[in-house]
Symmetry: C2
Subunit: 458 residues, 2 copies
């Protein structure tokens, strides 16, 4: 696949150099807009406007919508007003909105000036919805039918308006007040008799989402109900737009990326890796590192506090990394599982007691297994094989009891903090490995020294 594209790119570059425009055009029209956009990203910037102008109008608009913002801006700056108008007219409203959101102010002004009055109004309406709301990602081109229409009327209407609509696979039935009262699939229309009335064949238990709902909620509903398109209604239940499944997939992917990055202790960056600047990465990462570094100094202070105990029984020091790491890992495991379950809707805050009870049992199983293995390892390898005589049975016991307790505490913290964060309206993903580890590290040491002092009297 990648190989074929590379060859194609070489061919296109050669044709461009040789100025064989008709041949170039013939090659380009065989390609999917997504592939053309990807190829444009790899080409020299100065050939871009030239190649773009070779594309037929509809392919040009689709390709434009798929381009990275930098390339969109580059093209627009080279467009004449009439070229810009042509592209903006062909774009679906949701893509036009995305464009307006990404471009600098002076470019936005030109775009809005070239858009016709109705499109400009639609773009401005959508821009008013809160970021990440269902309203902000919807498009307004859908097929809108009346309940009294016959199937024949409906087909006529679809033939008339279908080419401007983002999808005709699902059509919407609204009353005079624009209220959404039914849904009818193109399948139902085609399979029905020509004189059947929409009112009789439409599905009237309509599932819709509010313009103000979170885009993640809208996406989850599309996935849950296996929809290819979801109607969006305003506060008065009037149909104002639709969200198509391809946009829902993009949201899903972005949200997963965001979760993963936050769980890794970094602010999400919404540009592709290779296009993200060093400074952007620094800005995304440094606040977390600073915060966590300060957190870790508390662990250092605990260690410092017990310096004398350690100095008296230095053998205890060598088990610190194992105990802290195991604690951190146990907590992380538990927190990622809980965070993902929260984000998939498998659990919610009211399940906290069953989650805690389950994690306690898992922690006991894990803690006992780990304690047993580390006991054997300490006695057989460290003491007998490596001949470390400082390790007494009591030292081994101290380590193992600490191990079991640390795992228990880590799992409890790992499962409760994300759920509490969620309850408080924070992103539970923040309560993942880095924070859990920092907290558990400090607690592990406290537990260790408490048990050491009661068992060994240090």
């Amino acid at each position: 696949m990648a190989e074929r594209n590379a060859t194609l790119e070489t061919a296109i570059e050669t044709l461009t150099t040789q100025k064989k425009y008709p041949a170039l055009r013939d090659v380009l029209v065989t390609m999917n807009p997504a592939d053309i956009a990807a190829m444009f990203g790899d080409l020299e910037e100065r050939t871009l406007p030239l190649l773009f102008r070779l594309l037929p109008k509809d392919i040009a608009a689709e390709t434009f919508a798929e381009l990275d913002p930098e390339l969109q801006e580059l093209l627009i700056r080279g467009f004449s007003d009439s070229e810009l108008k042509e592209v903006v007219d062909e774009l679906y409203v949701d893509d036009a909105v995305d464009l307006v959101e990404e471009m600098p102010a002076n470019v936005v002004k030109r775009i809005l000036k070239q858009a016709d009055a109705e499109t400009r109004k639609l773009i401005n309406d959508i821009l008013k919805y809160p970021e990440d709301s269902a309203g902000s990602i919807m498009t307004t081109e859908f097929i809108d039918l009346r309940p009294t229409m016959t199937v024949a009327d409906a087909i006529k209407n679809i033939r008339r308006n279908g080419s401007d609509s983002e999808t005709i696979n699902t059509c919407y039935v609204t009353d005079e007040g624009k209220h959404l009262i039914g849904i009818v699939s193109i399948r139902a229309i085609l399979l029905a008799e020509e004189d059947a009335v929409l009112n009789d064949i439409m599905e009237d238990n309509v599932i819709s989402v509010s313009t103000l709902a979170d885009q993640e909620e809208a996406t989850a509903m599309i996935s849950k109900y296996n929809f290819t398109v979801m109607p969006v209604v305003d506060q008065e239940d009037r149909l104002v737009g639709i969200i198509t499944v391809d946009d829902a997939m993009d949201v899903m992917e972005d949200e997963a990326t965001e979760d993963i990055e936050i769980m890794g202790g970094t602010t999400p960056v919404d540009t592709a890796y290779l296009r993200t600047s060093v400074f952007q990465f620094w800005r995304a990462r440094i606040p977390w590192l600073m915060l966590l570094m300060i957190g870790a100094t508390f662990t250092g202070m605990i260690l410092d506090h017990y310096e004398n105990a350690l100095a008296r029984l230095t053998v205890l020091t060598m088990f610190i990394p194992m105990l802290m790491d195991t604690g951190g890992n146990s907590g992380s495991q538990c927190s990622v599982t809980v965070i993902r379950a929260l984000s998939l809707g498998d659990i919610e805050f009211s399940d906290i007691l069953s989650v805690i009870w389950k994690e306690i049992r898992v922690a006991v199983l894990c803690g006992v297994s780990l304690a047993a293995v580390s006991f054997l390892k300490i006695m057989l390898i460290d003491r007998m094989l490596l001949g470390n005589d400082d390790i007494s049975l009591l030292v081994a016991l101290t380590v193992c009891v600490t191990m079991a307790l640390v795992v228990l505490v880590a799992k409890l913290i790992g499962c409760t903090l994300p759920m509490l964060a969620d309850k408080l309206g924070l992103d539970p993903a923040v309560m993942s490995s880095p924070f859990i580890t920092t907290i558990v590290d400090a607690l592990s040491l406290l537990i260790y020294f408490a048990i050491a002092s009661s068992l060994l009297g240090t």
Copy 2:
């Protein structure tokens, strides 16, 4: 939403107790199958078969496909042979395959016995494809047209076969040998003249996926090209099935969950949190904890080795957690970003040098910032404010130089290990926080003691 469902569930439970079956049926048919399935999961098991039998045939099959495997098994065990046949006949082949994959052998035998000969053959064919391949998730119900058909013929064909097909939104044009030669959307058919020939209106630059391709690849293509359905072809380019976007969304969600769980250091569990047993969680988590615990003992051995140096200058101990944690966090940040970029296809192995160069620069920025802040913190807070006289300028310098170097090493390891894992055909997600942290911990200590010995002569 949750509230509405709770009230509905109470109503349904009351109606069930009062044996008001006609009313129950009226309520159930207003619901979406996905919601019915979710509600069935919360109801008492003994009322399940009763409610299920109230559903009309098509809703029953769709609801059945959405149920958890345990409930599917429960229902099947209560079904008569003819009831089972009715459900199996209504299921789409991909759902039937999922069912057969989940059920125990004796139930599978019954299912296959009740399926008609053709369905049985289709199920068996799909079962032969490797797990996680495009073939294993496809379905075989699609609209298959000839290039010589007119639009009127095509509509007639769709009317005849449309009710059995999983989607009619995209139709496929094949030659006599079943080779896929074109794609025609229902929109193109409806917008064309009745006597137009498919050959002239179909899109003949067809993008398809091979049966043996990874399901993740198929899903990424559906997302990239904004498809609602993707044709699947065999090794001879014959059309054998389609993958619909709703299944692609499920795959995408499952793959993200899998990545997130592996990155958190736990084997993915494919059941919902509350349905996963304590033992399953233990089995998913304990191997990682054991492995990482053993890894951490090396860090312990390093600490043990430098015990004497530490005993001479105990103040060094208090900075160990801060240095190790910052190292681990720096490496984690970098590894999650790289892992996600790999899985989104933003970078590949050939980009390794630009990734390393970028991470070196980010590491220098982060390292210098952290070193500067920690230097100030150590000198101003620890030394002056808290009056710790053991902290000399050289000690502070040792910590800061170590800090900068640890961040650099951590970022290098955090970006290269996932890329190497990917190159070796392993899942890069494995090279995430837990492993990176364990490796970086040990290296941090080595760097710390090396610098301490050269600057402080310990």
